[in-house]
Symmetry: C2
Subunit: 347 residues, 2 copies
């Protein structure tokens, strides 16, 4: 059970401390935690946001526990040295093509959503976002048009194997949930989406027990506001998934509680909170470590098939929340370490 | 004052009747209304959703009043014969590069939003969406990869002139509003967005009175749920604008009240409700014509510089709404024609 611990920037450092404490409290056999730098902190120490040592560790470890990266002071750096290149580099190098983003209401916390409580409380969905293709990784650059004008371009593309493998992940996820899958695309405009839809339909033949529907991305953005409770699993490409998963998280409201998993073909995965490095509150001991702790639970489930301990963590988190131990982001006043203490005591 | 009236499919026909009645009630000098078919109805009659006669009329008229297109029975047709090709064809042929989508709360109707009333009531924003470029109109198709796999692809691109002209529209719109402009892109990933951001910054030099900010599209999708009241004018590309403008409309809730304008270089424009052809309620006389009527007001303002009559219509609509003459979509029971009658009486 070899875990690469990449805490990263800002509150990433503080919340990781608590997640590690929770893991250690579980007495997991053979638990080995190796720390490495990533993001702005890595750039400052080693000149690159994803130094070779870090990438090596991530590659050899069984799983990556990732905090958050982002350092506003380094925004001016050229692209390859910015934190985004660490994020995208890890996804590509580890071939983490499937991003699982559960968004579900937490009882008693519906009020934190911008949506009406009766709408927010019905949210229980999983977004399966493709993570290593699409317009993110196609050919891109700046060029000149025939008229001598500057032009920026990015090629959006998916081939059938990329679509099929993410579709399989999504259909399987739907089988383990309510059996409903909604594939989101823009097939009325994009040829990439036309193929996407065709391949998802082909894969559907293997999952007769899953009810498949298709929705255009503009409509999906509307439905996530109007009635997000209608969704079970959503599968979509990298770009639409980026937008819709963030929108869905905000519909839940309490983004300090939402975790994510990025998975490849085997059991290797990267697990991280959906929130960022929050430099404005870093170092004050007030960051909410819950999403980080829940990321560790996802890790136990997906990379180590340890459902028992995953649920132990998740139940402990629910208990602590129900006891009213809430972080500042949730309207409470519990410190980062107080929340960590409470979860450690509860597991 | 030569207007091409393209009612289209489904409820497009019914709501257009009322908008025309309102225009006729204004005694506009030289008003000439020429009707033509578009969408599914045009396909059925002439074999194409945008027949040459219709395109010619749209080109020669001073403005296009557009109802809605969409006919589920024709979804199986090949791409060039589907209604989308009429929508995209008109935009491209008339060079309507600037789509203005106001989204604002209507007093007393905040409750129709999925957002909490205190959040929804603060919405007063304008999305300026680029409409003739981006991944919509780049090279696209299906091809084979080196490994013999099917691949779908679409090229996203913007050149500096396309970005600059939409930026000018947005800065000017901001000058006429609260002086705040937020440009939405994905410059941390897309080269198209890198140029977008650079050109918007260049254009900003000419508008020192406008406060410019930049936001990533995933964050914008979150902020539209969390606190849409923070936005005044948003400018963005075709694809992001498609998603965000629909999301913003749904945040308002009452999409039966939202109109849009698509403008080119001169005064020519196309004006239409943001809702669709709603085949499920077509022909029952219960469609809400308000968005269509408000589209006519936008037409008077933008294509005919007739602010007086634009405001006459808008005030009449407000009065009628305040009087509780509400369509079924707004929780009322007024018929299409009853609402039209009320607005005609009020102008
Ligand atoms: C930082 C950025 C490159 C990244 C993305 O767009 O994928 C982020 O928004 C995310 O969703 O993880
Ligand atoms: C029908 C479709 C091509 C169109 C678009 O994506 O532009 C529609 O969604 C819109 O926003 O007008």
């Amino acid at each position: 059970m070899h875990i690469a611990v990449l805490a990263g920037d800002g509150i990433g450092q503080e919340i990781m401390v608590e997640a590690v404490r929770v893991l250690e409290a579980l007495d997991l056999p053979g638990l080995r935690l190796d720390h490495a730098d990533v993001g702005g902190v890595a750039y400052r120490k080693h000149g690159h946001p994803l130094p070779p040592e870090t990438l090596d560790l991530a590659k050899t470890a069984d799983a990556v526990l990732f905090g958050a990266v982002g350092d506003p002071e380094l925004d001016g750096l050229r692209r390859e040295l910015r934190v985004e290149s660490a994020i995208l580099g890890l996804r590509k190098e580890l071939q983490l093509f499937a991003n699982l983003r559960p968004a579900n209401a937490f009882a008693g916390l519906e009020n934190l959503s911008g949506l009406k409580p009766e709408i927010a409380s019905a949210i229980d969905l999983l977004i399966v976002r493709e993570l290593t293709g699409d317009v993110y990784f196609g050919e891109k650059g700046q060029r000149q048009t025939e008229d001598g004008l500057r032009q920026g371009y990015d090629v959006m593309a998916y081939d059938e194997s990329e679509i099929a493998r993410i579709a399989h992940v999504a259909f399987k996820a739907a089988q383990g949930r309510k059996g409903k899958l909604c594939s989101v695309d823009k097939a009325n405009v994009l040829q990439t989406s036309v193929l996407w839809r065709a391949v998802v339909e082909e894969v559907a033949a293997e999952y007769p027990d899953v009810e498949l529907s298709h929705m255009y991305v503009d409509n999906a953005a509307m439905q996530l506001v109007r009635n997000p409770g209608q969704f079970d699993v959503i599968v979509t490409g990298n770009l639409f998934g980026d937008i819709l998963s963030d929108q869905a998280s905000m519909c839940v409201g309490s983004i300090g509680l939402l975790a994510s998993a990025s998975l490849g073909e085997g059991t290797k995965g990267q697990y991280e909170p959906i929130h960022g490095s929050a430099p404005d509150i870093a170092g004050q001991g007030i960051a909410n470590p819950m999403a980080m702790i829940l990321s560790a639970a996802m890790m136990l489930r997906h990379s180590f098939a340890d459902e028992t301990n995953a649920q132990r963590i998740e139940k402990a988190v629910s208990t602590v929340l129900a006891d009213g131990v809430l972080g500042h982001d949730l309207g409470g006043s519990a410190s980062t370490s107080a929340i960590g203490d409470a979860v450690v005591a509860a597991v």
